[in-house]
Symmetry: none
Subunit: 213 residues, 4 copies
C-alpha cells in the first residue's frame, strides 16, 4: 500500500505544530498579497547548504534557485529549456528583487566532478558532465595545479565558479541595466559546511572574506 515517506510526514508535523503555528497569519497574508521576496539566491542542491537554514529565513523572504554547483549559465535566448535563466528572469523582471546572491559551498560534488577529468559519466546522457561544461576551461586550469592539494584546488574552483556565475549574471541585459541604474546588486558568498562560516566576496577583487574580519 502506497505510503508517502514517513520521515517527511514526521518533519511536516513538526513544522505544522511549530513554525507554521507561530507564523500562521503570515502565511495567510503572503498567500493573499503574493510573494514579494527582495532577494534571489542561487544555491547548490547540496543537503548541507540550504539558504533558508543558513540565513534563518521565513516565508516570503528568499526566492531560491537550487541547481548542481549553484551555477548561472550565460545568457542564451535560443529556445531551449533554461530553468535557471527562467528563474532569474522572473526574479528580476517580475518580482523586482534588489539583490542576487550566488552562494557556493565547500566540498561541492559538482565542482569535484568537473575537476576530475577522468571520471566516468554517471549515465549515457552524462547530464552532470554537460552541465558542468560551463566550467570546463577554468577547471582544466585549476586541475593542472599539482602543487596545490586536492582540497585547495577544490576550494579555489568553488571560488572561480562563483565569480564565473556573477560574470554570467551580467550577460543578461535586464541584470546589466538594473545593476547600472543602482536598482540591483550582485553578491557572491561561500559557506563552509564544516565550520558554518560564511565568506562574502569582495566585488572589486573577487576575494572572499568573513564579515567582521
Amino acid at each position: 500500500m502506497y505510503q508517502f515517506p514517513e520521515h517527511l510526514l514526521g518533519g511536516y508535523q513538526k513544522f505544522m505544530n511549530g513554525r507554521f503555528a507561530e507564523q500562521q497569519a503570515r502565511y495567510k497574508t503572503l498567500a493573499e498579497t503574493g510573494q514579494q521576496p527582495k532577494t534571489l539566491i542561487v544555491a547548490c542542491c547540496d543537503s548541507r547548504a540550504a539558504p533558508e537554514t543558513i540565513f534563518d529565513s521565513g516565508p516570503g523572504e528568499l526566492f531560491v534557485v537550487r541547481n548542481v554547483a549553484n551555477m548561472v549559465p550565460p545568457y542564451e535566448p535560443d529556445g531551449q529549456y533554461h530553468s535557471t535563466s527562467a528563474a532569474l528572469e522572473f526574479a528580476v523582471q517580475s518580482l523586482r528583487v534588489k539583490d542576487i546572491v550566488v552562494m557556493g559551498h565547500g566540498r561541492c560534488g559538482g565542482i569535484k566532478a568537473v575537476l576530475d577529468s577522468g571520471a566516468e559519466p554517471l549515465s549515457p546522457g552524462d547530464f552532470i558532465g554537460k552541465w558542468m561544461n560551463m566550467l570546463k576551461p577554468s577547471a582544466e586550469q585549476i586541475a593542472g595545479n599539482d602543487m596545490m592539494t586536492a582540497a585547495e584546488r577544490q576550494r579555489a574552483m568553488e571560488h572561480v565558479s562563483i565569480r564565473n556565475s556573477i560574470v554570467n549574471l551580467r550577460t543578461f541585459p535586464c541584470v546589466q541595466i538594473l545593476e547600472q541604474r543602482g536598482k540591483l546588486q550582485l553578491h557572491g558568498a561561500w559557506f563552509d559546511i564544516s565550520t558554518g562560516e560564511l565568506w562574502v566576496m569582495d566585488p572589486k577583487s573577487g576575494d572572499f572574506s568573513r564579515p567582521g574580519t
Copy 2:
C-alpha cells in the same frame, strides 16, 4: 562601500547562534563523511514553499532542486545545459536517493503565467515562456474551462504539472530501472501556502489528498 545584504547577515547570525550551535557536531561529520541524503525534492523557487522549512529538515537530509514551477523536463540527452536533469542524474546515480518528491504549491507564479496565454514576455529572451512551454498543451486544455474559476483552473494546473513531472521522471532510464527494481520511489505533493496543508498524490489515481483524511 560594498555591503553584503544586512538582512541576510542578521539571519546568518541567528543561524550561527541557534541551529548551527546545536548541530555543530553534525555539520562537521557531514563535511567529513560526505552528504548522504536519501531524498531528492524538486520544489519551486517560491519564497513560501521551501522544502527544508516544510519538512523541518536539517543538514544532510534533503537534496533539493528548486526551479520555477518545480518541473522535471523530459529526458533529452542532446548536449544542452540541463540543470534539472543533471541534478536528477547526480541524485539517482551518485547519491543513490531512495525517494524523489515533486512538490508543487498553491498560487504558483509560473503556473499562473502558463495559463495566461495573453501575457507579455518578461524579456525579449522570454525564458519563463519557453521554460513553461513544457506545460503548454495541458495548459491550453485547462485554460479553456470558463465554467471553472481562475483559482480552480490554477490549482487544477498545479496538479497537472506535478503529474506531468512524474511522468517525465520515468523517461529517465536510470529512474525507470531503479523504480522497477523497487529501489526508488516517486512521490507527488502539493503544499497549500495559505493553510499550510500538505496534499500527497495517490500514485494510482493521481488524486491529491491530505494524509489522515
Copy 3:
C-alpha cells in the same frame, strides 16, 4: 402481514424518547403558530448530506428542498409541474425566508452521471438523464479535461453546478427583486462527505473556501 420498516420504527422511538421529549413544547408551539423558518436550503437527496444533520437544526429552522444534485432549474412559468420552483416560490413569497443556500456535496451521483456521457439510461424514461440535462453544456466542458483526474473533474462539476443553481435562482423575478432590495441573500456551500468539511462560496469569485482559513 404488513409491517412498516422496523429500522424506521426503531429510529422513531429514539426520536420520541430523545429529541422530541426534550423539545416537546417547541413542537407544540410551532404547530400552533406555524413554521417560520428563515432559511431555505436546496440540498441533494444523498443519504450522507442531510442539512438538518450538517447544520444541527431543530424543528422550525430550515425549509428544505432535496432533489438529485441539489439543482435549481431556471425560471420557466410554462405550466408543467415544477417542484423545486414551487418550493422556491413558497419559501420566498410566503415564508419570506432571508437566506437561500444551495448546498452541494462530494461524490454526488447525479454529477457523476452527467459527466459520464456514455452511461446507459436507468430506465426508458431516462428521468435522471433529462433532469441532469440542465448541466449538460457545462458537463461537456469539464468532462473534456483528460489532464484532470476523474475525482478532480467531479469536484469541479459539483462547484459549477452550485454556481449554476445560484444563477438560476436569480432568473426568478421574486428572488431578483428581493435580493436587490437587500431582503434576501443567496449562498453556495459544498459539503465534503468524507472529512465533514464545509466549504462556502465567495459570491464575487465563485471560489469555495473553508470559513476561518
Copy 4:
C-alpha cells in the same frame, strides 16, 4: 463584507464537534464505498417534518426527496425536468432501495393552499398552484365538505395526498415490476407535528393508525 449565515455556521460547529466527531470513521467509509441507503423517503420541505430527525437517522441510511406536500407525480416520460421522478428512478434502479415511504404531516402549507381555491397565486408564475394541481380534483371534493371543520378537511386531504402519491408510484414501471417481485415495498406515513405521533398507512384500506395501537 460577505458572510455565510452565522446561525448555520454555529450549527455546523456543533455538528463537527458532536455527531461528526462520533461518526468520523463512518463518514469516511461511506465516502469510499458509496452510499447504500435502502430506504427512499418522500417528505415535505416543511421545517417541522425532517425525516432524519423523525427517524433518528445517520449518514447512509435514508435517500430523501423533499418537495412541497411530499408528492410523487404520475409517470410522464416526456422530456421535461422532473426532479421527483429523477430521484425516484435513481433510488429504485441505481441504489436499489427496498422501501419507499411517502410521509405527509399535519398543517401542511401546500395542502392548505390546494384546499383554498380562492387563494391568490404567490407569483405570476404560480408555481405552487401548478404543482398542487396534481391534487386539484381530490381537493375540490374534500373542500366541498362544509360539515367537516377546516382542520378535519386539512387532515383528510393530507391522507388523500399520501394515498395519491402511492398510486402514482405504481405508475412507474420499475416500481410496479419490483413491487410485484417482492423486492420493493411501498409505505405511507403521516407525522403529527404537534404531538410527534407517527401514523402508518394500512396498504389495504388506506387507513392511518399508530403502530402499537
